[in-house]
């Protein structure tokens, strides 16, 4: 997969496109609508730029005005692209029933995630039937630096790439850099010893999640497989004795089932 570098005149167009897509990304999977001011805060782009971009998004049906009129929310148009990807993805369709099995058995949420910049992007997701909190979805974006699924991905990389990515994560962490580094090292140690890592409070407080790296398909695309739940007073022994083996079993099952696919969703 390759691209030809753009001519100079296209640089401005590339920037506009990049920024516009950044605005769409800024909505994340949030439920509450966002105002232009909040988008400025999330993207760091100037107010006038945001205003122009949300205007385009509005005209094309990717966002609409939320009740109240002051803020925007994602509209049907925004869902279309992701839907086209997922609906045409045999990989996602093959993986999710297997993930649902684990989700129901342990009453957790199960996710398969790919790296996306400094984040992990959920490409497949299933929640156990009884689960109502921690309801994420396909397309959810979680920080690689602090989540178990992010650490698991890092654990699957070769030394050189892992070091490079960690440098990026630590640099982006600012004041929290020391903490981030410690947590990652701790997870890497877990991965080395038991093949999975558990993180408490990595995504939200009181969320406990366990994850491991998984290479998918013929291209052996590196992903993270995780399962998580919300609970007060997480039981680490339970995670070790029950969750880790179950997760490994699911990973093996997925690896086999997805072996004939290319590897990308």
């Amino acid at each position: 997969m390759s691209a030809v570098p753009p001519k100079r005149g296209d640089a401005a167009a590339l920037l506009t496109v990049s920024r516009g897509l950044m605005v769409l990304r800024a909505f994340r999977s949030d439920v509450a609508p966002l105002s232009n001011a909040e988008l400025v805060q999330r993207t760091g782009l100037p107010k006038a730029t945001i205003s122009r971009l949300t205007s385009t998004l509005l005209q094309l049906g990717f966002v609409r005005r939320a009740p109240g009129g002051r803020a925007f929310e994602l509209a049907a148009g925004a869902r279309g692209m992701g839907h086209a990807l997922v609906a045409s993805s045999e990989l996602v369709q093959a993986a999710e029933p297997i993930m649902q099995g684990l989700a129901d058995r342990l009453e957790v949420s199960v996710a398969l995630a790919m790296p996306d910049g400094l984040d992990m992007l959920y490409i497949a997701y299933r929640a156990g039937r009884g689960v109502a909190t921690l309801r994420l979805r396909r397309g959810a974006v979680l920080p690689m630096a602090t989540t178990s699924v992010g650490h698991a991905y890092l654990g699957g990389l070769d030394e050189h790439n892992r070091r490079r990515q960690m440098e990026r994560l630590v640099a982006a962490a600012g004041e929290g850099a020391g903490d981030v580094e410690r947590r990652i090292e701790s997870s890497l140690a877990d991965l080395a010893s038991q093949g999975a890592c558990t993180v408490i409070g990595g995504y939200r407080r009181d969320i406990v999640a366990t994850a491991l790296p998984l290479r998918v398909g013929r291209q052996a695309v590196l992903m993270g497989l995780s399962c998580g739940k919300a609970c007060v007073g997480p039981d680490l022994a339970l995670e070790k004795d029950v969750v880790v083996p179950a997760l490994k079993e699911t990973a093996a099952c997925l690896h086999e089932r997805l072996a004939s696919f290319d590897g990308l969703p």
Binding site: V4, P6, V31, P67, A84
Partner: protein, 265 residues
């Protein structure tokens, strides 16, 4: 809808065509049945000239939103498009139907109707309708973007619909934030839950605001996070007789309608 008509409609609606708009049109050209598209296909589907398509497509490859296969000379959506709003809440058609149904209730009962869901420890508004002939003074805080999970009738209705472990988990979080209010809150919530158990809804007059009366009911649809439907009116018109006779039962009927719409969506 033929691609020709779509592009015409767009060109008419967007006199200022930006690179960003073009990029979105291109991304939209991919569908669940059209996973890999070549330059000519993209030109036909997006209504743009082939040279423009090529430039924009290459930009999107550079930005990581399209993948290009040099062998087949075709493009496909990259997994990262899932981060561009696929997490958008709900299906547009279902939301529209629900909105119409809410309007029906609002007009009939002359109350404000709001559909909300939980985001952390608050109920955020997903949709809200005013009655056609509003008898409410405009300075009343009738339509609130966010309401407290623990101290609003909307919050109580939602809490009562959750599994016990989850409710305890959330209550624990709430109490951690405001330890001094804990006992009083718990008592009121238990009261509200008893009402929901018996009648299906909970009501509260002049409690949340001296001039307002509220009736709220949980909305549970298969495969979705729990939501809450509530109506707000002037306290003088939300008598217990009226709640019992019409407001409550009709609110439950509205919730049932939502469930039906969801199943058939």
């Amino acid at each position: 809808m033929s691609t020709q008509r779509v592009s015409d409609k767009r060109h008419r609606a967007c006199p200022m065509v930006t690179p960003f708009a073009r990029a979105l049109w291109l991304l939209e050209a991919f569908t669940e049945n059209a996973r890999w598209l070549g330059n000519r296909d993209l030109a036909a589907r997006s209504g743009m000239p082939a040279s423009t398509v090529w430039r924009i497509a290459q930009s999107l490859v550079i930005l990581g939103y399209l993948l290009y296969d040099a062998e087949t000379r075709k493009y496909r959506l990259a997994p990262s498009v899932l981060a561009l709003g696929y997490g958008a809440v709900g299906h547009a058609a279902v939301q529209l139907k629900a909105h119409e149904q809410m309007q029906g209730y609002a007009d009939l009962q002359s109350v404000q109707v709001t559909l909300g869901t939980r985001e952390r420890l608050e109920i955020v508004t997903l949709d809200s309708v005013s009655p056609a002939l509003s008898r409410l003074p405009s300075d009343l805080p009738v339509s609130v973007a966010r309401a407290s999970l623990a101290s609003s009738p909307m919050g109580w209705a939602l809490l009562s619909a959750l599994p016990e472990s989850e409710r305890n988990y959330l209550m624990h979080k709430v109490e951690r934030r405001a330890p001094q209010d804990g006992l009083r809150m718990r008592r009121r919530i238990i009261q509200a839950m008893a009402q929901v158990r018996e009648a299906g809804y909970c009501s509260s007059v002049s409690e949340w605001h001296p001039d307002l009366g509220i009736v709220a009911a949980p909305v549970l649809c298969e495969g979705r996070a729990p939501r809450v439907i509530s109506c707000v009116g002037h306290a003088s018109r939300i008598t217990s007789a009226r709640v019992q006779r019409e407001l409550g039962p009709r609110l439950l009927a509205l919730a049932a309608q939502f469930r039906q719409s969801d199943i058939h969506a």
